[in-house]
């Protein structure tokens, strides 16, 4: 489970529920490219025989996605926003064994 301890508000709806947008700051994004490491790959290889959840990969992707979100949040803060709305996640595999995690949204200033 991804920790959501970010200093600004995030939402994947068009506004922050219960608040109104007073200012737009444009699109902000964060991304990270990660490769699996050998130990995890080995364990996942073993787990691939019996199937089911590959915990190592789940954790890896969660950590990486958290980092991508932190980068987006940092960017949003640097432009003076206090919330990011319409957040979307995207994943693409760059090479075999490496994938890019990308997150983007619109930085806004909200008020209650």
């Amino acid at each position: 489970m991804m920790k959501m301890d970010f200093p600004i508000e995030l939402s994947n709806t068009e506004n922050v529920p219960g608040k109104t947008i007073t200012e737009f700051h444009g699109i902000v994004s964060g991304s990270t490219v990660r490769a699996k490491h050998v130990g995890r790959d080995f364990m996942a290889g073993l787990k691939n025989i019996v199937g089911g959840e590959l915990k190592g990969y789940t954790e890896l992707l969660e950590e990486s996605r958290h980092e991508a979100v932190s980068r987006m949040v940092a960017q949003a803060q640097s432009v003076g926003a206090n919330a990011v709305v319409n957040v979307r996640f995207a994943t693409s595999s760059v090479a075999s064994g490496a994938s890019e995690l990308y997150v983007y949204g619109t930085a806004v200033t909200v008020q209650r």
Binding site: K47, G51, L54, S99
Partner: protein, 162 residues
């Protein structure tokens, strides 16, 4: 000769281990999914933004993700299916499992922070390629995310979405 025999033996061994452990684990997983789905049934989860549900007190982005893969036995069966075509049931149950688990994790996160409903839920699936690439995919990742909301106590309780 011995080499060939031992490699066939090893493959057969993986085949059997995959079948036995894989189907046991899948049954157990589905049982736990059904149990947790019953437990969290009162939570409102919808993939749009409901209108007129009263004032929102607080909101938060919640996510749930899981990487699942096929066992050795099913992977070979699925490989055979690719020759003859038709329904690949092994992948159907795998994706079902992954999606339901990811939704449950998202619900668990929302609940942990004291939220009763999640709106605008999106489900995304992506494959993770294996290094050698000879067995196709190493796994399928399912990511579920949405905005958890809490309504003000003055509004008419939880939204009614049916």
């Amino acid at each position: 000769m011995f080499d060939a025999l031992s490699s066939i033996g090893f493959t057969l061994f993986l085949f059997i281990v995959g079948y036995v452990c894989g189907s046991l684990a899948e049954k157990k997983h589905f049982k736990s999914i059904r149990k947790r789905e019953l437990q969290t049934r009162q939570m409102v989860v919808c993939n749009f933004v409901p209108e007129g549900q009263g004032a929102v007190d607080q909101s938060m982005l919640v996510t749930g993700s899981v990487v699942v893969s096929l066992d050795y036995f099913k992977r070979i069966l699925a490989g055979l299916r690719l020759i003859f075509g038709g329904r690949v049931k092994a992948f159907e149950t795998l994706l079902d499992r992954g999606r339901r688990e990811a939704v449950l994790r998202m619900k668990a996160q929302a609940r942990q922070h004291g939220y009763g409903s999640v709106i605008n839920v999106r489900i995304e699936t992506s494959t993770i390629a294996s290094k050698g690439g000879k067995n196709g995919t190493a796994g399928v990742e399912v990511l579920v995310f949405g905005t958890a909301v809490r309504y003000l106590a003055t509004s008419n309780q939880e939204p009614v979405v049916s």
